[in-house]
Structure formats: structure tokens, C-alpha cells
Amino acid sequence: MTSYVVRRVLQAVPLLAGISVLIYVLLQMTPGGPLAIAENPGSAGRVTAEQLERLRNRYGLDDPLYVRYLRWAADLLRGDFGTSFNTGRPVLEMIGERIPVTFLVTGLSFLVTLLLAFPIGIVSAVRQYSVFDYLSTSVAFLGVSIPSFWLALMLLYVFTFTLGWLPSFGLEDPRQDYEGLVALWDRARHLVMPVTVLALVSTASLTRYIRAAMLDAIGQDYTRTARAKGLSERVVILRHALKNGAIPIVTILALEIPDLFIGSVIVESIFAIPGMGRLFVESAHLRDYPVLMGILMIASLLVILFNLLADVLYAVLDPRIRYR
């Protein structure tokens, strides 16, 4: 097992290097560039050719692609993610300040998803074809098919613009300086809608996975055996069926964790939350290569790590699986 993990970690190094070359080249190949806004004749053409030249020099945009890549990679190996073209600030600092906000929103919605999806999925499976099952199935399909931007706007329309219960933007009231419990309450009010939107969509799909996995487990011989031994239904479902059914679910969940880091650009934009999703999309619009590379590299690393973690967890949960 240990040698397996070590081997996988070592394999990740060339993989990451390959990814970095690929995304670096792909990013540079997209039309436009970091100076497109300044170059755009629509912006009154106020930046002169000489001023542009100075900016190009500063960003090293005139060097050949491989030189730029090698310079970037060398900096990265020293732990330097570079400086944003747009803000002039260190990339790592910009990413660092987005992480807590992103995790607050995505983490809470992940938690809500787990708390909702497991009970609903299990009950749906146990009482297959019951009214509850049909109801949860319908809601799940609705949740999967509703576009999150639409849901977000509808929630805003109802709870802010019609009822006036919840604030429409941000994570705190910009006019007040709350402290203590009041601040917590204020924060909670701001989080309700974004978390709801994110949680609804992911709960819907996770419920379906859990239901399917549980149905599969309930039909297995070991469940019948457990029942035959005279165990209570509760123990049969939670100890025997769930434990086995949960194995593929754990993999799914482990693979979703990198997504928590990436955030959600739609929800972050509509509710004006300064998260990672927006940083990424806004940087993409501006062709802010250093920031984009930083986010993509961290995200790639997380995906690789959590894939490995999922594989390891698989072995831990299912003794039949052995890695060599």
C-alpha cells in the first residue's frame, strides 16, 4: 500500500509538469491578450503605442513562448507564483484571500448536501416506489434541471425584492459594523440564498447516487443474510447495506472536494461574493496569465491528490481491493 501511494505521488510530478505545459500553451493560444483592453480602440484609445510597449516589456510579452514558460516554471519551483498583470499583486496572496470565502460558501453547502442527501437517498431506497420516493425523485430531477442562475435570481426576487427578508449581495452589511452574535446573524442571513442554491443542485444529484447505491446494496445476498440472522431493520440498513453501498459514494464525494476550492462563478457573481470562481473567470476575461496559471495548477494538484485519496479510501473501505 505504502509503495503504491509513493509511486502514485511520484507519477504526479511528470503529470503536473505536462499539465502545466499544456495549459500554459493553451492559454497563450486563446485570442486576445492581457493588454487587449488597453489596445482596444473602443476604450478611447487613450493608451499610446509607447505606453503599451512599456507594459509589454514589463510583462515580458515579447519573449518567445518557451522562454516565458521556463521563466514561469522556474519561479514556480521556487514557490513564486508570480504577480498578477491586472492588480500588480502576488498571485498567491490573491488566491489566498479568496480561499476562506470560497470554502465558507462551498463548504457549508457541501455540509448541507451531506445532511440532506444521505437521509433522503436512504429513505427513498428503502421505501422504493413510495410517495416519498416519487416526491424526492421529482424534486431531485427539478433540482438537477433548474439552472442555478435562474434559481438564484428567483430567490432574490422572492426573498429580497418582494418579501425583503434577506440581503441581496455580499457576506456582510456594508453600512453597519456589527460585532459578536449580531455579526454572526448578519453573516448567516447573507449566506442563506447562495448556500441554498449550491446545495439544492448538488443534493439533487447526490440523492440519486445514494438511492441507486442503496438499492443495489439492499438487493445483495449479504443484506438478505443479515435479515435472515434476525437483525433489526435499522441495523440491516445502516450497518450492512449503507456501509457497502457507501463505497462508490465516498469516491464521488472525494472527487468533489477539489470543486469546493474552485467555487461557483454563477452564484458568486449574482450574490457578489468574492470567491475563487469569480477570480478565475475575471482573470480569464483579462487574460491575466499568472493568476490563471496559479489557480489551474493548484486545482490540478488538488484533483490529483483527491483522486489518490479516493483510491486509497476505496481500499480502506473495501478489504477485497488491494493495490500493489
Binding site: 488597453a38 487613450r46 441581496s168 483579462l286
Partner: protein, 613 residues
């Protein structure tokens, strides 16, 4: 102004002041009696009530306004009683501004993104243009002119006099050394400023005394009043090499009513009241929070819901929503400024596929260009497609101090047909006219994907078809149209017939007029050229050259007047309409003045803002 027209104008002004007219009626009646948009927009500012409507000065409307006092906070304060301010301004509170597109730096000197203009809450310019495009001094004591010796005889040396008693927000005095330093920063090749071309014409700057600075230009610089929209505080920098990474390039230090204290990227920017502001009574607000809200629809909904006091910034497309909200009694006030900075143009290619020696087979005939001019129903575009927001202009110099008041070409399809008949363009079997075997059939291109545009594009197409000219719509991505000569851009290469795009200028028309001169026609030898009409007119070139040879406003004005007449006669491009611009704020925010050229100039009055509740 004729006597009859003058009396009608007087009556209109009285009606406006009595609050008897809506904006729309003012526009209609103003246009009917032939008032210029400059005047009408001044009147508009006064009607519809609201705190934005400072009393207009009827005498100032046509004549050049005289600077009174000075300071962004008080250009017309002497004559202005702010209506709606029945009580005295209240102290305290925090205004919240929604910012849609967050810039990389809150600093106009180092950033070209629109959002960096919000820096004017903390940073003041030397001069700022008023509604008529006349510059007024802010940190300067006076406007340099030939008469007061501020402009040298050869127009190459400008002497700026600074206002006495100004301090930076950290208490240090603001002096001529700061101006000299700012020039040095610009000239240091290690620095990366993003400012206008006027800066390139600076040769050197020298402080004569703490309040006087002499700037030598390498060539005549019509943008001399547009320089120093931002001055850098010398005492805060160690070197003249300053880039976007410097903390003060990101959040500048200024002399204005507020001070930047914090920027949580992507979230909010906090400003507090400047304790060292020159007017100890002001600003009234404790501070301003700029909240980044990237989703415009949501931001406007929150604004209408009363959660924001101001949105940066409102464009024509937002007007229907906002005007409706105002009419429904939502807590927003919309300030409509007819006559925005940009105009939608039909650019004609006057060369044969970029070959400057041969005229365009169809558009080379002036009759075709004239006929198209008369064939287009411009008012229908505004009324049927733009929801009534927009105005017409007949002059290519339509804004700023040099604006020429020239009526738009009327919609007259019969006249268009007569012109074509007279020029020998005979309708063929399919109704499209033909002359010497050449069909009057032209490509008509604009940026693909803009639905509003595509609507009136079809209107224009139909208008032209009605008089026997076929326009074939072939819309393409913006890069294809605007690409450089090397990239094979359609405009640069002259590989087009008619292109429709928005363009324009702000206060001074010098750079704008240059884009029609033959010297800048793009070619193999001149790939950076920008005269996309590929138009050669010696008379026009001479008029523009004369305007560029002096800083005497009267000489320039007359030269531009001539250029406008030549342009209108030759029609290298046709104006379709001038976009409306507007600004909006919440009804609880008081003290806002909307008296500057830039519609977002309302931000210059932040010292006077206060919250009513």
C-alpha cells in the same frame, strides 16, 4: 439666435423652471425651436425636479461660461441653490456604491479600465470640463490662456498656476514639485502609466515657485488641460520608476474629500472622510463603500430595491429598467443627459478595396453617399429600437467646447431618389439601381451578436432598399473589423463597403478629427494609420491642420467649423444617432450635482453628498 427663436427659448426656460415640462417635452420643444443639444441638455438637467437639477444659467447656455471660484466642489456654487435641499445637509452616514467591473488599480494614471475613474472620490484633477466642455480649474488657480500669459506665444510652453492652501490627505502641502514629479514618473521608461497621448507631447516640467509650474511641450498640445487629471504625491515615493505593483498605484493618495483606506479585492473598497480636506465642513458623509457586484442585472435590482446609493455605471441599455422603476415610485432618481460622448456611424470606404488611387466603384460617387444620408429614417431608429433614448447630430464635431450646432440630415426618401436619378443611377429589373453596369449593391457590416444593433441595421437596410440601394448584411466578429493592418482588419485594409460602429471623442476634437485626415490612411508604409474611410480631401486636411497649429480657441473653433461643413458635404461617414447617457442615484442620497461633461462627473460632487433619512 434669431429674436423669435430667442423668445421661444425664454418661454421654454420659464416652463422648465416652473416644472411644467417633462424631459421628453423639453427635448421635443427644444429641437423644434432649433436649440443646440448643449442648451437642451442644460435645460434637461433642470427639469424633472430632483437634487441633480441645479438652476440653469440661461445666459451661460450659449455663451462660454465663466469660472466662478474654483474647486470641483464649487464651480457654479455661487449661482446654485440646490433645490430639494430645503433643510441643511445632514452629517454622517455611509454611501454605498455598486461597482460592476472592478479595475486592477483605483488609479487613473496607472489603469485604463473604466472603474478606475471612481478614484475621483479621493483624487482631484487640475481641471475638469463642465457640461459645455469648457474646462474649469480645480486644483489649478486659473485656466492658462494666451491673455493671462499661461500659454506662450509659440503655444509650446504652458504655465500652470496652482490653487493655494491645498494639502494632500496626509496633511502635506500640494505643490508644483508634485506636478514636476508626476511628469518625471511619466518620462521614466521603467514606469508604466496608462494615460492619454497628450502626455507624450510633454518635453519637460519645471517648478518656478511652489504654486507655479512651467511645462514645455515638444509640439502643440491641445490636450494641455486634460493633463494632470491625477497628480502623484512626490513625498510618498522614493523613485520615479512606478508600476502597477506600487501600493499607491493601486490605492492612490489624493487631495479630495475622501481617503482610500482598504481594498478587499473582489469584495469592497472602503473610503473614509478626509480629515485634512480644505473645506472643514465637508464632506458630510463619514465614508463611502464601493461594493463590487459583477452581475449588473442583480446590482441594478438591488439598487432599485434601495440597497445601493449609486451604480457605477449606468449605460443606455439600463435606462428602460431604471426609468420604469423611477416612475413606479422606487427610491431611485435617473438623470438623463441627452447627447452622450459616442455616436453610431456608418463608415464609407472611399477607396477601391484599399487602393487609394482608385475611388470605390459605388461609394466613390458622392450622389450615392448623399442619397443614403437622406434615405435613412434616423428618428425611427431612436423611437422604434432605442426606446426613445438617443439624439441626432448633423456635425461630426458634436460635443465639447468646439461642438458645431448643425441640424441632422432630414429623412427624405423622395429627395434621395431624385439625387440618384439625377446622377444617372437607374433602377434595374429588381429595383436596385445600376449605373454603367455597376449595381448599387454594398456590403453592410457591424460587430456580430449585438441584437439591438442588428434591429436597426435592418431598418437602415430597408430604408436604402426603398430608394434602390441594396445593402447586404454580413456581420463579423469585432477583431475581423478592427484588426490592425498586419492582421488584415477590414477597416485598415479598406476591404469593406459600409461598416457600422460606435466611435467619438470627449472634450477636445483634435485626436478625433485626425482620424479623417489623409495623412493617416493605413497602408503598407503606414500600417498604424487609422483613417478607415480612406478619404483624401485636401481642403479638410488643411482645416484640421490649421486647428492643430494653435491653441487659440477662436481660431480652432473656426477651423473646425469649416471642417464640419466639408465633412457634411463630402460625407466620408454618416452619423446615425448619438447615444443617450445617464446617471442614477438613490433618492436618499442628496447634494449630487450633475454639471460636468462626463456623465459620471456626479462623483466630483462627493464632498457635497449627504444621506437623508
Amino acid at each position: 439666435m434669431e429674436d423669435r427663436q430667442f423668445r421661444a427659448a425664454q418661454q421654454l426656460i420659464r416652463d422648465v423652471l416652473a416644472g411644467r415640462l417633462t424631459r421628453r417635452e423639453v427635448i421635443r420643444r427644444g429641437a423644434a425651436i432649433g436649440l443646440s443639444w448643449t442648451i437642451v441638455s442644460t435645460l434637461l438637467a433642470a427639469c424633472g425636479g430632483g437634487e441633480g437639477g441645479e438652476t440653469p444659467q440661461p445666459t451661460a447656455a450659449g455663451a462660454r461660461s465663466t469660472p466662478t471660484g474654483g474647486g470641483v466642489d464649487t464651480p457654479v456654487a455661487a449661482s446654485t441653490a440646490t433645490p430639494g435641499a430645503a433643510g441643511t445637509p445632514k452629517r454622517g452616514g455611509r454611501a454605498v456604491i455598486a461597482l460592476i467591473q472592478e479595475p486592477g488599480q483605483m488609479n487613473d494614471f496607472f489603469n485604463g479600465q473604466s472603474g478606475s475613474f471612481l478614484s475621483v472620490l479621493a483624487v482631484e484633477p487640475l481641471f475638469v470640463p463642465d457640461r459645455n466642455g469648457e474646462y474649469q480649474p480645480v486644483l489649478a488657480a486659473e485656466i492658462p490662456t494666451l491673455e493671462n500669459g499661461g500659454i506662450s506665444e509659440d503655444f509650446l510652453t504652458i504655465t500652470y498656476k496652482l490653487r493655494d492652501g491645498i494639502t494632500w490627505s496626509d496633511g502635506q502641502p500640494f505643490t508644483a514639485e508634485d506636478i514636476v514629479f508626476t511628469v518625471e514618473v511619466y518620462q521614466n521608461p521603467e514606469s508604466t502609466p496608462q494615460v492619454g497621448a497628450a502626455w507624450e507631447k510633454i518635453e519637460s516640467a519645471r517648478a518656478i515657485d511652489p504654486l507655479t509650474v512651467e511645462v514645455k511641450m515638444s509640439e502643440i498640445n491641445p490636450g494641455y488641460l486634460d493633463l494632470f487629471q491625477q497628480v502623484l504625491p512626490k513625498h510618498k515615493f522614493e523613485s520615479t520608476a512606478i508600476t502597477q505593483e506600487h501600493p499607491l498605484a493601486r490605492l492612490p493618495l489624493g487631495t479630495g474629500p475622501f481617503v482610500f483606506v482598504d481594498w478587499k479585492t473582489g469584495d469592497q473598497i472602503t473610503l473614509e472622510r478626509n480629515p485634512n480636506y480644505r473645506d472643514p465642513e465637508k464632506p458630510y458623509l463619514d465614508g463611502i463603500t464601493i461594493k463590487v457586484t459583477p452581475e449588473k442585472e442583480a446590482a441594478i435590482a438591488s439598487f432599485v430595491n434601495g440597497e445601493f446609493d449609486y451604480v457605477y455605471f449606468i449605460v443606455t441599455g439600463d435606462l428602460p429598467t431604471l426609468v420604469t422603476a423611477e416612475q413606479e415610485g422606487k427610491p431611485v432618481h435617473v438623470e438623463l443627459l441627452e447627447g452622450g460622448a459616442s455616436v453610431e456611424w456608418l463608415w464609407f470606404n472611399l477607396s477601391d478595396n484599399g487602393d487609394p488611387t482608385k475611388p470605390h466603384p459605388v461609394l466613390g460617387d458622392p450622389a450615392i453617399r448623399e442619397a443614403i444620408d437622406y434615405a435613412i429614417d434616423r428618428q425611427a431608429i431612436i423611437d422604434q429600437v432605442l426606446g426613445g433614448f438617443g439624439s441626432l447630430t448633423g456635425a461630426f464635431i458634436y460635443a465639447g467646447w468646439a461642438a458645431v450646432d448643425r441640424p441632422p440630415t432630414p429623412y427624405d426618401p423622395e429627395k434621395a431618389k431624385q439625387i440618384l436619378d439625377a446622377a444617372g443611377w437607374v433602377p434595374g429589373g429588381d429595383g436596385i439601381r445600376v449605373k454603367n453596369g455597376v449595381r448599387a449593391s454594398l456590403r453592410y457590416q457591424t460587430i456580430a451578436g449585438d441584437q439591438t444593433r442588428e434591429l436597426y441595421q435592418q431598418l437602415v437596410q430597408q430604408n436604402c432598399k426603398d430608394v434602390g440601394i441594396e445593402l447586404r448584411i454580413e456581420n463579423v466578429p469585432s477583431n475581423t473589423i478592427f484588426g490592425s493592418w498586419q492582421e488584415g482588419g477590414l477597416l485598415a485594409r479598406g476591404n469593406y463597403d459600409i461598416v457600422m460602429s460606435r466611435d467619438g471623442y470627449e472634450v477636445d476634437p483634435a485626436d478625433w478629427a485626425a482620424i479623417f485626415t489623409s495623412a493617416s490612411i493605413p497602408s503598407e508604409q503606414n500600417p498604424g494609420g487609422f483613417t478607415y474611410c480612406h478619404w483624401r480631401n485636401a481642403e479638410f486636411d488643411a482645416a484640421v491642420e490649421e486647428a492643430n497649429s494653435t491653441l487659440d480657441p477662436e481660431v480652432r473653433r473656426q477651423a473646425y467649423q469649416r471642417a464640419v461643413e466639408i465633412f457634411a458635404r463630402e460625407r466620408p461617414a454618416l452619423p446615425l444617432y448619438r447615444s443617450a447617457s445617464a446617471d442614477a442615484w438613490s433618492t436618499r442620497l442628496k447634494g449630487i450635482k450633475s454639471i460636468w461633461f462626463n456623465p459620471r462627473g456626479t462623483l466630483y460632487s462627493a464632498a457635497d453628498w449627504y444621506l437623508e433619512e
